[in-house]
C-alpha cells in the first residue's frame, strides 16, 4: 500500500493504493468518481477513458501508482462548471442512447478539440475510433462533434 497524491478534477486527493490497483479501480472504488466505466478491462472499449495530464488514457490500463503527482480530469471535472460546447451539441442532437460510452467519448472529443479546433470528419472518426458505442451507430456523435466546431467558428 502506497500513499499517492493526485490532482483530480482540480482538487488534491490523497489515497492509499495497492501496487496492482488500476487507476480505474481507484477512481471508482476509492475516490467516488463513477463516470469512467469498466466495459472490458483490457483496453478495447474506451469506456474508462480519462485525461491524464491532458492526454486521454484508458484508466483500466494505467496503474494508480503511476499517477502520483499527476493531473487527472474526468467528465465530472469537465462538467463541473456547466456543459461544454461539445457536450451541449451532443445533448441537443440526442447523440447518445444508453449513455454508457458517453463519458469515454466526451474525453476523446475533448482531447481532440483541445488540440485541433477545427477537425474534419476523418479526424473526428480517428479520434473517437478507440471508443466503442453499441447503440448510436456513431453518426449522431460524429455530427454533434462537427456541429460544436461549427458553432465555435461563429464566435
Amino acid at each position: 500500500m502506497k500513499k499517492i497524491s493526485i490532482n483530480l478534477n482540480g482538487e488534491t486527493r490523497v489515497v492509499h493504493v495497492e501496487p496492482e490497483e488500476t487507476l480505474l479501480s481507484v477512481l471508482r472504488n476509492k475516490l467516488g468518481i463513477t463516470s469512467p466505466k469498466c466495459g472490458c478491462d483490457r483496453g478495447d472499449c474506451g469506456a474508462c477513458a480519462v485525461l491524464l495530464n491532458g492526454r486521454s488514457v484508458r484508466s483500466c490500463l494505467v496503474l494508480a501508482m503511476e499517477t502520483d503527482s499527476q493531473k487527472i480530469v474526468t467528465v465530472e471535472g469537465i462538467s463541473q462548471n456547466g456543459l461544454t460546447q461539445v457536450q451541449n451539441a451532443m445533448l441537443d442532437m440526442n447523440a447518445f442512447q444508453c449513455g454508457y460510452c458517453a463519458p469515454g467519448i466526451i474525453i476523446s472529443a475533448t482531447e481532440l478539440l483541445e488540440n485541433n479546433s477545427n477537425p474534419n470528419l476523418e479526424e473526428i472518426k480517428e479520434a473517437l475510433s478507440g471508443n466503442l458505442c453499441r447503440c448510436s451507430g456513431y453518426l449522431p456523435i460524429l455530427e454533434a462533434v462537427k456541429e460544436s466546431v461549427k458553432e465555435d467558428s461563429h464566435e
Binding site: K37, G39, F96, G99, C135, G137
Partner: protein
C-alpha cells in the same frame, strides 16, 4: 391530432443531461456501503458432463471467504417460458461456462482467488455442438427430463429428444401451390450465433436483510418479470412477491440480452444465504459473451414457388435453431418465427416448421429482432434470387407480392394497416435504385441491395403495461412506469405522451426508472412494444388525471366539465374566455370553495393496457385459430456499396431505411433507432461471428477477437425515412420500431454483393475473406 404540441417533436431526451454530464448511476455505480460482499463464480470447463464431485475444502481455507454455495443449496428450477434451468448446475453440466458454485467473500479479489481453488471432478458425456446433430434420432439427449418441464401452453417439447419446441404453421394447399408454380427455388441459408455486446456488462446486487426482505438491483430489461421469476424459484424458501423488490437503475444497453433472467438469479439466491450483507456480482466481458444469452444459430431450408410474372404461389420454410443448453427464452424466438416466416409477403399456401434444438453451447435467448433478422437473411436473399432468375427487378417482385392491409397472415388473422408500399417506393427513390454508377478503380465493383423489414412483438397474449402519474405543488409531474430506457428514449417518449394530454412542458416532467415496490407493473421491455403498450397506459393515466382535474374544477367552481380544457399548464373554459386556473394552484392543495373549505387533493392518474384481442391457443398442427400477434411493423431498406473483388473489402456509400412507425412520437429518437440498429445489423453481416472450439469453448470472448464496429466503420451516409400509417390501437397511432431497424442489414448486403460481383453468399457473416475467396472460385 393536427395541433400536437409535444408528440411528434424531436425533443431532447429528458435524461440527456444526466448521461452527458456523467451523472447517471448505473447498477455498478451505486454505493452499496462498506458491508458490500462479492461473489465469484466457479464455471464448468466441460460442455457436457456428469459432476462427480465438487471439492471446496481448499477454497474454504482462504481467509475472508464467507461462504461457498452449489446446486445443492438451491435445488430450484427457473425459466421464463419453460422451466429448464437450475440456479447452479445440479448433477450435470450442459455447456462450458455454466455456473457450478459461487464463492462469497468480503472483497472481489479474495472471492476470485478462492473460486479458482474449488475443484470439480467430471465424468464427460458426449456433447453436441450442431443443431442438425441434435435433431438426429440417435443423438445424445441433453435434457432427459424434458417431458416433465413446466412450460407455457403454446410450446410443444418432445420428450426423449432434443426438440424443446416445434412450431408448425400450415395454411392453404402447399402441394398445389408448388404444382402451380412456373419456377421453384430451394436452398439453405445459415446464420451463426451472435452476442449482444452492450457496453455495460451484466451486473446485479442482492441484499436479503434480517427481516427476510430481499432487494435486487440489476441491470435489467425486465424488473417485474425478474421479481416474478425470483419469487417462483425461491418460493420454497418462503419468499412471496411482496417480499422481493427489484430496483432497475439505468442500463448501459440491453438489445434483448438483459431480458428475462440470467445471472441476476445468482444475486437473489446467494443473498438469501448471507443475510444482512449486500452481494455484488459483476460479469466480466468474457462472461458477458459466454454466459448470458446469445442469439441462436439457424439453418434455414427455404423453398418458394413463383409464377413467371413473379407472383409467389407457395412457401415451405424449415428452420432449425441452435438454442444451446437452455430453451427457456430461445424457444419463444423459435415460436415467433414459426408464425411469421412468410415475411411481409402474400402467400396463400404456407408450410412453416420452426424447430428449437438443444445443444451443448451456451443458452440463447432474446436478441434485438427476435429471430426475424436470422430468417429474413435467407428469405430476402432467396427472393432476390427468384427475381433474378425470372428476370424481374428485385424491387418490383417485392412490390408485387408485398402484404397489404387485411391480407390473411400465416395464422389466419388479418394484417394491420401499414405503409409497406410507401416505404418501398421511398427507399427505391432515395437509393436511386435504377441508376448504376461506376468506380474509377478497376478492382472495385458497385452493387445495390434491397430488403424488406417485418416483425411483430412476440409476447404472451396477456402481456400488459401500467402507469401512475402524480403532480407536485408546482404543477410538475412524475410518471411512474416499469419499462426500461435502454437508450431507445422510452422515458422521454412517455413524458411526451403525458405532456400532450396534460399540456405540461417536457421540462416539468420526469419519468422514473423502475422499482417494483413503487412503480406499477410492466411485463418486460422487449419486443419493441413499450412505446405502443406502455404508451397506451401513460396516455390513459394522463387522461385519468385530466378527468380528476376537470372534476374538481367543475364541482368547486360550477363550470361544465364538457367546456373545460387544458392549455399552457392551465385549466381553461370554452364558454368563459377570462377563466384560467393554473394547475399549480390546486393539483396538490385543492381548490378553495366559496365557503373557504378546500375541495380535491393530490391529482394522481393511473392507466393500464392489455391487448384484449390476442390468444395463443391454436391448433398445434397448423397454428390456425389463435391471434398470437398484436401487429406487424414493416419497412424497407437498401444499400449502395463498393466492393473490392480481390480483397473483398466493402465500402458502404449509402444506406436508406424507411419504417412505418405509425406515429413517430419523437422523430429524432426514431432516427437514432434507425442509425444505431442499422449499424448493429451491418456488424452481424460484416464482422461479428462467435467461434467455438471442438470442445464447445468460445474462442473469441472479447472485443479484440469479436469485432464490433468503431466510428471508422460507419457508412458514409444513412438516410432514415419515417412513414406514418397509424396503428389503430397505438398511442397517437404509434407502433414499435426498436428491433426492426437491424433486420434488413444482412440480406441487403448479400444482395448487393451478388449485384456487384455475381456471387451469392448463403452463410453469415459475409466477411471480406469470404467474399474474396468466393469470387476467386467463381473466376476459376
Amino acid at each position: 391530432m393536427n395541433d400536437l404540441k409535444y408528440v411528434g417533436k424531436p425533443s431532447v431526451r429528458i435524461d440527456g443531461k444526466e448521461k452527458i454530464s456523467g451523472a447517471t448511476k448505473y447498477t455498478e455505480d451505486i454505493e452499496y456501503g462498506p458491508n458490500l460482499h462479492y461473489a465469484a463464480i466457479v464455471e464448468s470447463t466441460e460442455a457436457h458432463a456428469k459432476i462427480v464431485n465438487i471439492d471446496t475444502s481448499e477454497a474454504e481455507k482462504v481467509s475472508g471467504v464467507v461462504g461457498i454455495y452449489t446446486g445443492k443449496d438451491f435445488p430450484f428450477k427457473f425459466g421464463l417460458y419453460m422451466k429448464d434451468r437450475f440456479i447452479f448446475a445440479m448433477d450435470t453440466v450442459n455447456y462450458v461456462g455454466q455456473q457450478i458454485a459461487a464463492v462469497v467473500a468480503r472483497d472481489e479479489k479474495t472471492a476470485q482467488k478462492a473460486a479458482k481453488l474449488v475443484k470439480v471432478k467430471y465424468e464427460p458425456l458426449p456433447a453436441i455442438f450442431d443443431q442438425m446433430e441434435a435433431f438426429k434420432d440417435d443423438a445424445t439427449i441433453i435434457h432427459p427430463n424434458l417431458g416433465n418441464y413446466e412450460h407455457v401452453p403454446w410450446f410443444f417439447p418432445q420428450a426423449n429428444t432434443n426438440i424443446a419446441h416445434w412450431r408448425k404453421t400450415r395454411r392453404g394447399d402447399v402441394k398445389k401451390g408448388f404444382d402451380d408454380a412456373d419456377f421453384i427455388l430451394e436452398d439453405n441459408y445459415s446464420v451463426p450465433r451472435y452476442s449482444h455486446c452492450p457496453l455495460e456488462n451484466h451486473a446485479a446486487v442482492g441484499l436479503c436483510d434480517l427481516s427476510d426482505r430481499l432487494t435486487i438491483w440489476a441491470s435489467s430489461q425486465s424488473p417485474h418479470t425478474q421479481r416474478n421469476l425470483f419469487a417462483e424459484s425461491l418460493a420454497p424458501l418462503g419468499f412471496s412477491h411482496k417480499d422481493i423488490r427489484v430496483i432497475a437503475p439505468p442500463i448501459g444497453g440491453g438489445f434483448g440480452g438483459k431480458a428475462g433472467v440470467s445471472m441476476e438469479i445468482l444475486a437473489a439466491a446467494l443473498a438469501t444465504k448471507v443475510k444482512g450483507k449486500p452481494i455484488k456480482i459483476l460479469w466480466s466481458r468474457e462472461q458477458e459473451f459466454y454466459n448470458t444469452s446469445q442469439r441462436q444459430g439457424l439453418l434455414a431450408k427455404i423453398k418458394i414457388g413463383a409464377k413467371k410474372d413473379g407472383t409467389f404461389t407457395a412457401i415451405d420454410h424449415r428452420l432449425y435453431w441452435d438454442t444451446g443448453a437452455s430453451a427457456e427464452y430461445g424457444a419463444n424466438v423459435v415460436n415467433a418465427v414459426g408464425l411469421s416466416a412468410i415475411g411481409p409477403y402474400r402467400f396463400k399456401n404456407i408450410s412453416i416448421d420452426s424447430v428449437c434444438l438443444y445443444t451443448n453451447l451456451p443458452p440463447c435467448g432474446a436478441y434485438r429482432g427476435f429471430g426475424y433478422s436470422e430468417f429474413m437473411f435467407g428469405l430476402e436473399s432467396h427472393i432476390n434470387r427468384i427475381a433474378n432468375e425470372l428476370n424481374i427487378d428485385p424491387v418490383e417482385i417485392r412490390k408485387k407480392n408485398a402484404i397489404r392491409e387485411n391480407d390473411t397472415l400465416a395464422y389466419g388473422v388479418a394484417m394491420n394497416p401499414n405503409g409497406l408500399l410507401e416505404c418501398i417506393d421511398k427507399v427505391a427513390e432515395k437509393i436511386k435504385w435504377k441508376e448504376k454508377h461506376k468506380t474509377k478503380d478497376i478492382n472495385t465493383k458497385v452493387g445495390k441491395g434491397f430488403s424488406l423489414i417485418w416483425k411483430a412483438p412476440a409476447m404472451p397474449p396477456n402481456a400488459s403495461s401500467a402507469a401512475f402519474l402524480k403532480f407536485s405543488e408546482d404543477g410538475s409531474i412524475n410518471i411512474l412506469v416499469s419499462g426500461m430506457d435502454m437508450g431507445q428514449g422510452y422515458l422521454t417518449v412517455m413524458a411526451q405522451i403525458a405532456a400532450e394530454i396534460l399540456k405540461v412542458p417536457l421540462s416539468k416532467i420526469r419519468t422514473e426508472n423502475p422499482d417494483t415496490d413503487r412503480n406499477p407493473y410492466e411485463w418486460q421491455t422487449v419486443a419493441s412494444h413499450v412505446t405502443w403498450s406502455c404508451g397506451n397506459a401513460v396516455r390513459k393515466a394522463a387522461i385519468n388525471a385530466r378527468n380528476q382535474i376537470f372534476d374538481v374544477v367543475s364541482r368547486t367552481l360550477y363550470l361544465s366539465k364538457d367546456m373545460l380544457y387544458l392549455e399552457d399548464e392551465k385549466v381553461k373554459c370554452k364558454t368563459k374566455k377570462n377563466f384560467e386556473l393554473p394547475l399549480k394552484d390546486f393539483v396538490i392543495n385543492g381548490i378553495q370553495a366559496e365557503d373557504s373549505t378546500f375541495k380535491g387533493g393530490p391529482i394522481m392518474g393511473h392507466g393500464l393496457f392489455m391487448p384484449e384481442y390476442t390468444s395463443a391457443n391454436s391448433d398445434p398442427e397448423t397454428s390456425q385459430g389463435g391471434h398470437p400477434n398484436v401487429h406487424y411493423t414493416v419497412g424497407a431498406a437498401a444499400i449502395s456499396l463498393e466492393v473490392d473483388k480481390d480483397t473483398g473489402e466493402i465500402h458502404i456509400e449509402k444506406a436508406v431505411e424507411a419504417i412505418d412507425v405509425g406515429k413517430a412520437i419523437n422523430p429524432s429518437l426514431v432516427n437514432g433507432q434507425i442509425t444505431g440498429g442499422l449499424l448493429q445489423g451491418l456488424a452481424t453481416v460484416l464482422y461479428e461471428d462467435m467461434r467455438f472450439d471442438d470442445k464447445g469453448k468460445m474462442l473469441n470472448p472479447n472485443f479484440t477477437d469479436y469485432k464490433i464496429p468503431t466510428a471508422k466503420d460507419v457508412p458514409d451516409e444513412i438516410v432514415p425515412i419515417i412513414v406514418e400509417v397509424p396503428q389503430p390501437d397505438g398511442p397517437f397511432g404509434a407502433r414499435g420500431v426498436g428491433e426492426h431497424t437491424m433486420i434488413p442489414a444482412a440480406p441487403m448486403i448479400a444482395n448487393a454483393v451478388d449485384d456487384a460481383l455475381g456471387i451469392r453468399i448463403k452463410s453469415m457473416p459475409i466477411t471480406k475473406e469470404k467474399i474474396a475467396l468466393t469470387y476467386l472460385k467463381k473466376e476459376k
